[in-house]
């Protein structure tokens, strides 16, 4: 009996070790170790060779004095602040239309629109496409001479601007549009799921109290889905800070750079140490962003 028990324990641990060995090895080697090394290399002058000298905070002071870094950071921060605002507002608007814009029978407080699942399916299209492909498509849409937008402006007698080729603020607007375009559908699905979970009788009570649609939205719906909005806000902000592929592929003339693209170019130049220190700053920024949103978005949780 004792032997049997000991054998079974041994057998169990052998199984556990066997099943965990490969996943853990892959994960430790290719995910954990690069993350840890990144912190170390950000304090070195590593340029890809065998030697990496520890240089303290030199990379960070270099970054502080690097105008191109500040330029890229400005773009990234603008994107991280403005893109979530546009995207979340549009997402909430459409989600509210879908969950409560329907024709409703007498006495029914709220009804979804007909064909709501059709809308959600189509809106979600951009989410399932590769960002690189979205960037190529929109690069064509914004193309100065043969793009969809300038082609349309041409038809009504306007000369469209060079969206991605010249002016920095025009390129920024273009990137913002693409970023919001590709995420709105995601938030429509997310928010309509959250709105769908709100019990009907709360709406009925609001209706009995004489609240209109707008009032109902701001006094009932929004407070009840606030947790989802906050998470969505953080997620969208980090996506905007990360918008690497869209900018790299869509704005090849490089009138506009976000910090990840700036990082990638330093890596391409062989400035490995400097590039990783930019990565560390990006990590700190996204964590700070999450904390700030958590703080300012903190409200009492409503249970229902």
């Amino acid at each position: 009996m004792r032997y049997d028990r000991r054998y079974r324990t041994l057998d169990k641990y052998r199984f556990i070790a066997g099943f965990l060995a490969l996943p853990l090895a892959f994960y430790a080697l290719f995910v954990i170790s690069p993350f840890i090394q990144a912190i170390y290399y950000s304090f070195t002058d590593w340029s890809g060779g065998p030697v990496a000298n520890f240089i303290g905070f030199d990379n960070f002071t270099k970054m502080w004095n690097d105008e191109r870094f500040w330029d890229s950071l400005e773009v990234s921060v603008i994107l991280a602040v403005v893109a979530p605002l546009i995207t979340l507002v549009l997402g909430m608007f459409f989600a509210y239309m879908i969950t409560s814009g329907g024709r409703h029978r007498k006495g029914q407080a709220i009804a979804g629109v007909a064909g709501s699942s059709f809308y959600k399916v189509v809106y979600f299209f951009p989410q399932v496409l590769s960002v690189a492909i979205i960037a190529v498509v929109w690069g064509r849409v914004f193309n100065t001479n043969s793009g969809l937008i300038n082609g349309g402006l041409d038809k009504v007698g306007f000369d469209g601007p060079a969206w991605l080729g010249g002016d920095r603020s025009l390129a920024l607007i273009a990137v913002m549009i693409v970023l919001s375009w590709s995420f709105v559908g995601f938030y429509v699905v997310l928010f309509s799921a959250a709105m769908g979970a709100i019990p009907r009788d709360i709406y009925e009570a609001a209706l009995l109290d004489g609240a209109g649609r707008g009032r109902t939205f701001f006094s009932v719906t929004l407070p009840l889905i606030w947790d989802t909005v906050r998470t969505g806000w953080i997620y969208m902000g980090i996506q905007a800070l990360d918008s690497f592929a869209i900018v790299l592929v869509m704005v090849p003339e490089h009138v506009l750079k976000v910090t990840p693209v700036f990082l990638y170019e330093r890596f391409r130049d062989g400035q490995y140490g400097y590039a990783t220190s930019i990565g560390v700053v990006l990590l700190v920024l996204s964590m700070a962003f999450s904390l700030i949103v958590m703080r300012i978005g903190n409200r009492d949780r409503i249970e229902y």
Partner: protein, 297 residues
């Protein structure tokens, strides 16, 4: 709803109800108008790409808004053979066959052990995996490149597969751990009593039971890995014939500027988008659930 029988101000109540259902109809038209507008905006650029793929390159340049007058299917054959879209697609399929199998196998093995067994370090290993979801991949960019180079895995197919697997593990393990926890313990115990080994129990009993969860996370990983851009750009950038689909198209978009075969580029984009949209249309419920769960992890 029996509220209309409420004694207070019955006439006022019903009249407001009528007014309200009328405004419901107006609102209905109003909301459909906005919703349809976004349908046009969301699908418009994609439909434009598909339509333009059927037009000759010269016409695309002179009149970007035009309709296809005759169908130029040769754009598709040009894209497939001359612009190497066929090669890129095959590369993507090969990489995905390896990486998706690996992700599902390793992910479910780790998740099963974490979810169903008590052992020292269990919680720590779970947190280790889950923690990986918080860090941006771009932070690991440079050291990952060096690690891959040291192992001789740079610009190789197994190397890219391993990278896809490793970076898909955090969310896969996280998702499947919570899924395995919800499965009943009785069946597992019965299998053990009947003398099945742990491994056998896993493959023959637990995996089939976890099928709904495996399907969800499988589609999630399929889309994520099929759409990868940053990892191939970093780890698979040496030889153009080895590019995966999004990477190849992005390169093509830049080089087409010099060669001018726009028809092939639009055809290539259509070829790249269509299978993903079809998979999505079939599994839309799981995809939407999976991706939104991914955001709310």
């Amino acid at each position: 709803m029996t509220t209309t029988t409420a004694p207070r101000a019955e006439s006022a109540d019903t009249s407001r109800r009528e007014g309200d259902s009328a405004s419901g109809a107006t609102l209905n038209v109003f909301s459909h108008a906005f919703l349809v507008l976004w349908v046009v905006l969301a699908a418009g650029p994609l439909i434009w790409v598909a339509l333009t793929a059927l037009r000759p390159s010269v016409e695309i340049l002179s009149d970007p808004m035009g309709w296809p007058t005759s169908f130029h299917w040769e754009n598709f054959t040009n894209a497939w053979t001359e612009a190497s879209i066929g090669q890129y697609a095959i590369n993507s399929v090969i990489i995905l066959a390896g990486s998706l199998t690996g992700t599902m196998l390793l992910g479910s093995m780790a998740a099963y052990v974490i979810a169903r067994f008590t052992f020292p370090g269990n919680r720590f290993i779970f947190m280790l995996f889950a923690g990986g979801m918080m860090f941006p991949v771009i932070l690991a960019l440079v050291p990952l490149f060096a690690v891959m180079e040291n192992f001789g895995l740079l610009d190789t197919r197994p190397g890219l597969m391993i990278a896809y697997i490793a970076y898909s593990l955090p969310f896969t393990v996280f998702f499947l751990t919570s899924f395995f926890r919800t499965l009943p313990t009785g069946v597992q115990e019965a299998a053990m009593v009947d003398g099945a080994s742990h491994t056998r129990t896993f493959f023959q009993i637990m995996l089939p039971m976890a099928k709904p969860g495996l399907v969800s996370i499988g589609i999630f990983n399929f889309l994520g890995q099929w759409n990868q851009y940053l990892l191939p750009l970093l780890l698979n950038n040496e030889e153009e014939s080895r590019y995966v689909l999004p990477q190849g198209l992005a390169t093509l978009a830049v080089s087409q500027g010099y060669r001018g075969d726009w028809g092939a580029l639009f055809a290539g984009l259509t070829i790249a988008m269509l299978p993903v949209l079809v998979v999505y249309a079939v599994f839309q419920r799981q995809v939407q659930a999976g991706l939104t769960a991914g955001a709310l992890k």
